[in-house]
Point group: C2
Chain length 154, copies 2
Amino acid sequence: MSIKKVHNAHIRALLPELHRSLIDITVIMNQPERDVELLAKAGLSLERALFPLLVLIERFGPIGVVDLAGRVGRDYTTVSRQVARLEELGLVTRRAGSTDKRIREALVTAAGKEATGALDAAREEMAIGMFADWERKDFDDLVRLMRKLVEAMY
Amino acid sequence: MSIKKVHNAHIRALLPELHRSLIDITVIMNQPERDVELLAKAGLSLERALFPLLVLIERFGPIGVVDLAGRVGRDYTTVSRQVARLEELGLVTRRAGSTDKRIREALVTAAGKEATGALDAAREEMAIGMFADWERKDFDDLVRLMRKLVEAMY
DNA sequence: TCCGGATATGTGCATTATGCACATAGGAGT
DNA sequence: ACTCCTATGTGCATAATGCACATATCCGGA
């Protein structure tokens, strides 16, 4: 079985479709309604702007302000204020960076973890339904190729 | 070759990784720096909030305000204002809906298409480099499975 | 056919979010 | 030690936002 590399023309031909899928995923991931609802059920009402930040801190934390700002596409001063707000709410805590004293790394507290945990549980339930009739190979390939794509994009 | 469906336990096991990839992609797609730079090169400076909207209108247009608002996770009144701004700038135009006179569908103008076209060209160049050493099968599977994923999520 | 409720859009207004200018403190290289 | 770069925070003015309200259209049931 020979290994065939993908040609430029082929990439060009399929890129619009791939890009559309990326946009679609961004749209879905940027929609807060369901997640806000789940948080409300847990007695948590989070300001619109703070929500994505909590998710990112849980995912990428411990993380400094400038790094985090780069990931949400906001000025770092805005993000600094937002993290401070999350800290007030007890959802994240901050500590000095391990190698650089200027850095104030944010990481989720137990309360923050609980909030994102509720979202995780809901996502899991949804995923079970969603992938129920997928072939195992397709699912595994999706996971593998998505990771490969992300690594190629960074 | 028997067709094996994916089991719940397997979905649960791989879901965190898949979710991480989804977050990573959202982060990358939400980063405006490179795109803003490209637009600037084309003599276009677009307000921060308007940019994602232009991309979505190009992708999903013709599209009404409420539908569009749902896709960006904003109040429809905000989006109505933003679309009005894009119209002032000549990047989109609006027309009455074909079946519903209440609807004001937005679609990109030639100027708007030109702007997004510059982004498309840059993306293409980047994609060629990115996928250069991918196997053709992997690339094709990625495109197919991403589309399949999006359809499952909607 | 008519009416009431639902839905699409737009405007005013107060609040929230944001980025820029500036400041302080720490890091790294010469 | 000095200089330049980088991380974070604060003040302030501006931009973006959502809610309350209004008008117009659509649709289903009586």
